[in-house]
Amino acid sequence: MLSGIDPIVLFFALGLLAGVMKADLRLPPAIYEFVSTLLLLAIGMKGGIELARQPATGLVSDLILTLLLGILLTFLAFFILRGLGRLDRANAAAVAAHYGSVSIGTFAVAVAFLATAGIAYEPTLPLLLVLLEIPAIILGILLARGVQAGTPWGEIAREVLLGKSVLLLLGGLFIGWAAGPVGLEPLAPLFFDLFKGILAMFLLEMGLIAADHLGGFRRHGLFMGAFALLIPPFFAMIGIGFAQLMGLSLGGTILLATLAASASYIAAPAAMRSAVPEANPALSLTAALAITFPFNILIGIPLYQRIATWLMEMPA
């Protein structure tokens, strides 16, 4: 028995295995869209319900710190990629945007992980998630192109702010807040009771997608592999530091660490492809999807939990 392992992670492993062995397993694209829509709404609504119960305090300083965290992580990634990895400017900026931004799938796994462990977290985390997704993308474009005329900022802003993740998370947050716990009771069976089942389907598909991106490094392979493995725990430590500055609970600290450690594979690739077309998309996607995402859900999240628990239980 693998009793220590959360079964949802095994769904990811199954998808990965099926993908690597080129098995005849494909979920229809519409299923993936539906499942990720449900996850985003559920995460947003969960936060919204909690906000309706107890208004957030110290929100403004948390939001500012989150923006700073996003900017810091992007700069760090960029200079590591340029300095140690000798990547050209466009590729370094594009990869940095992915790693400064966040992965909602990873966040969802961490939420499920906390639920299983019975650890509570602040309701504002979904809001911080949205805020952490954005600055890295804008900064990545600036690092690649500089401030030059002809950058389609209007189009980029539209793509980022009206992207599926921002829209559904904020929408869910608002619906949860407006309707409150009692109002959302009838919706709970679909969005909350089925959360882990939906997440399992999502991870099955993510395994298949990750398998597709294995072997995407034609150049910079060794460096990028090491980068994608070592950056998550390093960034998680920075996330834990920021969580302490915000005074977050243990659950909030684990989630912020996970967010800092995760790399975007939805919003950032789309924005980078249109704004920095000279960057090689396979480089960022392989690192974010085939290495960092599996690392975080298999090893990272339990690791960040242990480190955060250890740090927070230390006598001051």
């Binding site: 494909r26 979920l27 229809p28 694209p29 993936y32 189009e155 298949l208 997608i209 597709d212 991106h213 594979y265 939805i266 690739p269 789309a270 492809r273 249109s274 077309p277 000279e278 998309p281 996607l285």
Partner: protein, 104 residues
């Protein structure tokens, strides 16, 4: 031949990355293309397998029926804008259309 077809036009087919869709549509509409058909596509090319089950590695096929000058214009514009950095292939065929007034 059935004798129904009355006019000659060009069929321009573009296979490219699905994430270019919005940009590309805006581009061809600005050039004067009034109608087009877009479908999801998958296949293999220089970029390896394009599996079409996930946004970032899927393709679209854009089909435009129009007269020769407009086809030339669209071809040159798309070539100038996308050839360097994006996965894109295009070809042109002669077609006979039944209702010429529907196609420029």
């Amino acid at each position: 031949m059935t004798g129904l077809a009355q006019a000659h036009r060009k069929l321009l087919t573009v296979i490219t990355e699905s994430n270019l869709e919005r940009d590309l549509v805006r581009e061809i509409e600005a050039l004067g293309v009034r109608g087009y058909t877009i479908s999801d596509a998958r296949g293999r090319g220089d970029q390896g397998l394009r599996a079409s089950h996930w946004g970032h590695s899927s393709n679209i096929r854009v089909e435009i029926v129009c007269d020769t000058p407009l086809a030339e214009l669209v071809l040159s514009k798309l070539r100038e804008k996308y050839y360097e950095h994006y996965a894109i292939v295009m070809w042109v065929q002669d077609v006979e259309v039944l209702r010429p007034d529907k196609f420029r």
